[in-house]
């Protein structure tokens, strides 16, 4: 049974994606019999390529993928360089989870309100500092170059990369490398970049590619922060597929294929850049220079880190203020009149969506955790890593643009006669929850000393007894963390829930985004907070439960075994 687990997981990760891609590819060549379109040809492709502004859309997607990844990676590495093994590092580790848990859409709303000309910062500074009685006519949010879009993405991707770096850091014994290099007289930042990054980066490569893929093809953030005309490619695809003229479905299909190409192209360019950087810095590594702008980098990082954290927290706080505001005119720094009406409205309607969100999140995460544990246990029993193939397949759902294959997937589910609803939605969530559960659990699972199992068996336990009584209880903390990560991913899913559920499955996320179309920021604030509270509560629980359960077991807390 266990032997089948890796194959099952590989199938879950790849088959729906492949099927969905096929479902996009076929109509892109004009084959959509239901509309009477059976003349196969390049019509949709010609229409796509002739679309006004397509070049800009493609460029926006391509650049936001590369630029976001470059900035997010630089910042993540810089922060680690400065804070690694300091007291702040412990704090940083704990700050990551809640930052990650805030859903993309909520974070984007928060940032949009923070930096808009009539936004929170402007209100705080006006009119006493700026002299503005009315908001200035400045294009900051949804700017043409996608800068606000990239800023919003960077804010979410830095915590992701930090989290992804933690496990490899332990694996490459970063602490020892750092101490060794510093004993040779290298500055902290130089030591970091010369001795740790060369070993760390190869282990961070796939997460970085996932960042490129997400940034070049996401919908949630781009709808809120991205330029509107022309928009990034993924948003344009959504518009085509929502066009009442059904012929646009075929153009949308061709667009989805183009999105694959754009994302793949961005990753390819990144890989090329990796090679070049590798060649360029090779000499630098052994140049013997102990200090290279260390103080400057340290100042930069120490300056930017609070900005990032503060911006995230201020944005969420401003969203919170909105949720209690009745009247809040520019340039008042705070709402003029307060109300609980928005929360009442949430309380009246959120019960069903919260219940649906929770059962779907719990079920999909449980299923994913079980599957991942099976894969890892199989790997351990057979004494070999699952191999690069599975490691890569884990990333397939993260690397392939969602907008591209979900539509095909809906068609497939229809043809299979699967009734839309909670079950189908949950199955769809597993595709995206599974990779994150794997990524957050694998390292801890592998690091557990196999001697524990041997010991248990010499004490008379069977293989399964050792697994249930020793391995799993000792892994409780990482298991709970993986659970919280998986649940957060499930809670944040929009497109999958929406399309596979035929709109019948209402979660807090679909509800929040439906109301976002109404544009009332105060209501959006209340819903976005509701949407963010669930995953944050999950992380808090995952953090608190081990402390409670193991309050008399110091060996189970803090230390990594």
């Amino acid at each position: 049974m266990l032997r089948l687990a890796p194959y099952l997981v590989a199938a879950i990760l790849t088959l729906p994606v492949l099927a969905g891609m096929l479902g996009a590819l076929i109509p892109s060549f004009g084959f959509l019999p239901v509309l009477g379109k059976t003349d196969v040809g390049f019509g949709p492709w010609r229409a796509l390529l002739a679309w006004p502004g397509l070049g800009t859309s493609v460029l926006l997607s391509f650049l936001s993928g590369l630029v976001t990844a470059a900035i997010a990676l630089s910042l993540a590495l810089l922060f680690l360089a400065i804070f690694f093994e300091t007291r702040a590092f412990t704090w940083l580790r704990q700050a990551i989870a809640p930052l990650l848990a805030v859903p993309h859409a909520a974070a984007a709303f928060a940032l949009a309100f923070l930096i808009a000309p009539s936004g929170f910062l402007a209100r705080l500074m006006s009119p006493w500092a700026t002299g503005w009685q009315r908001p200035p006519d400045l294009l900051i949010v949804q700017d043409e170059w996608g800068l606000s879009l990239m800023a919003g993405l960077v804010m979410k991707e830095v915590p992701f990369l930090l989290l992804m770096a933690l496990a490899p850091l332990a694996q490459i014994h970063a602490g020892e490398r750092m101490r060794l290099a510093r004993s040779f007289g290298y500055g902290r930042v130089s030591a970091w970049f010369k001795t740790i990054v060369p070993a760390l980066y190869p282990l961070l490569r796939l997460p970085v590619y996932a960042v490129i893929a997400y940034s070049s093809a996401n919908i949630d953030v781009a709808l809120i922060l991205g330029p509107v005309s022309p928009p990034p490619l993924a948003v344009q695809i959504l518009r085509w597929s929502n066009d009442p003229d059904l012929d646009f479905r075929m153009i949308a299909s061709a667009g989805a294929i183009l999105q694959f190409v754009v994302t793949a192209g961005a990753i390819a360019v990144w890989i090329l850049a990796e090679r070049c950087v590798g060649l360029l810095v090779r000499g630098q590594l052994v140049s013997g220079r102990r200090v290279a702008g260390d103080a400057g980098f340290a100042t930069l990082g120490r300056g930017l880190f609070p900005v990032l954290i503060l911006a995230s927290m201020l944005g969420i706080a401003a969203l919170g203020l909105n949720a209690f505001a009745r009247v809040w005119r520019f340039p008042d720094a705070l709402p003029g009149r307060w109300t609980m009406a928005h929360w009442q409205s949430v309380a009246e309607t959120a019960g069903g969506p919260i219940a649906a969100t929770l059962w779907i999140a719990l079920l999909t995460t449980l299923l994913s955790v079980v599957l991942v544990v099976c894969v890892l246990e199989n790997e351990r029993q057979r004494g070999a890593r699952s191999g690069r193939a599975l490691e890569f397949l884990i990333y397939v759902p993260l690397l392939v643009p969602q907008i591209g294959f979900i539509f095909g997937l809906v068609l497939l589910a229809e043809m299979a006669g699967a009734p839309p609803g909670g079950g189908l939605v949950a199955a769809g969530h597993v595709i995206f929850v599974l990779p994150y559960v794997y990524l957050s659990l694998a390292e801890a699972y592998r690091r557990q000393d196999p001697a524990w199992t041997k010991l248990a068996r010499t004490l008379g336990q069977s293989a399964s007894g050792a697994f249930w009584k020793v391995r799993l209880p000792m892994l409780l903390t990482p298991l709970l963390t993986a659970f919280a990560v998986g649940a957060a991913i499930s809670i944040g899913q929009y497109l999958v829930t929406r399309l596979l559920g035929a709109g019948r499955v209402e979660t807090v996320t679909t509800e929040a985004i439906a109301l976002a179309a109404g544009g009332d920021r105060r209501l959006i604030g209340a819903w976005a907070l509701t949407q963010a509270i669930l995953p944050v509560a999950g992380f808090a629980l995952a953090l608190a439960a081990p402390r409670l359960i193991w309050r008399n077991r110091r060996g189970m807390l803090g230390g990594s075994r």
Binding site: P52, D143, V228
Partner: protein, 406 residues
Amino acid sequence: MLFRRGMATLSVILGLFGGSSAGAADKASTEWTQVLEAARGQTVYWNAWGGDPRINAYIDWAGEQAHERFGVSVVHVKLTDTAEAVARVLAEKSAGRSEGGAVDLIWINGENFAAMKRNGLLFGPWLDRLPNHRLTDPANNPELNLDFGVAVDGLEMPWARARLVFYRDTVVLPEPPLNTDALLAWTRENPGRFTYPLPPSFLGTTFLKQVLIERAANSSALYNPVSEADFAAISKPLCDYLDALHPTLWRQARSFPENAGGMRRLMSDGEIDIAFAFSQADASAGIDSGELPATVRNYVFDAGTIGNVSFLAIPFNAGHSNAAMVLANFLLSPEAQMRKQDPAYWGSATVLSLGQLTREQADAFRNLDLGPAALPADQLGTMLAEPHPSWTEALEAEWVRRYGVR
């Protein structure tokens, strides 16, 4: 509560026995009784835009009533765009599912209806089977038989009237511009203080049509398919106007609000001074909730503004078409229409013909307070009809070609 229930019973009775001849009425009532029986216990998946909590609350109320009175459960599938529902029906048709479809009822009009009709995605005709249809007096209200110039053919039920109205804060702007020329002159003096939602959003395209109808040399061409007209010549006044207007718009027209809600938010934030909506109730609701200043008032252009009717349609493969018809018939009852028009709940104008109602019912409609921002019915001016839907597509394509590129 008792009163309401009584009124509903009355309307059902009216519906059942209001036919012209006794024999036909009997036949119709037997048929309708069969529909009611078949509907009992079914669940209607009603796909309707979900962006306004007040509309959502109204739909919830209608669902509760339908459950209490007819044993029909209602699930509101909250769309961000009506085309989502069209896409779902389309996907089902491609997959060969010709019955038991996931969508039972769609709130729809214009392009989406035209597309569904063209592609054979609609159930019906079913309109004449509804007892309450008579209350709309279709013979004397031709606008209920045409949806953006496309014949309704009994395939959808008129549900709500919409009317383009502008609004502004009377303290900031006591004398608003009342035609497109005045608007341009005003934006030149007040750059950055006006915008319109991004086409092809519903309201954004409506603004284009509003300008075109006013400025086109021969607006009658707009009511026939665009293929029969010289598009470039007819649309030229619009393009010239936008060329002049754009540099004076909010963010110099380098960005646009996404939809009506986005534009109301800009108004609320003090970023713009004039906004517009497809309902008299929009601004009133904004005042009520504190989003807009209490001094905001609606106004219309001198030459009139675009108005339309929105409908409810049933897809060809709806799993619960009987229950959908029962719900639709209830939504057309005086009680449900009254609550819909009441700005305390929603504020969307009724499609019923007051002459077909009892005196009390008609008076109740006439005496309804339409909200602080609303114009009285006699000041609402001329209603301009929606152009043929093919113009919508053509205008949207032209807009993207000219302004969607950098």
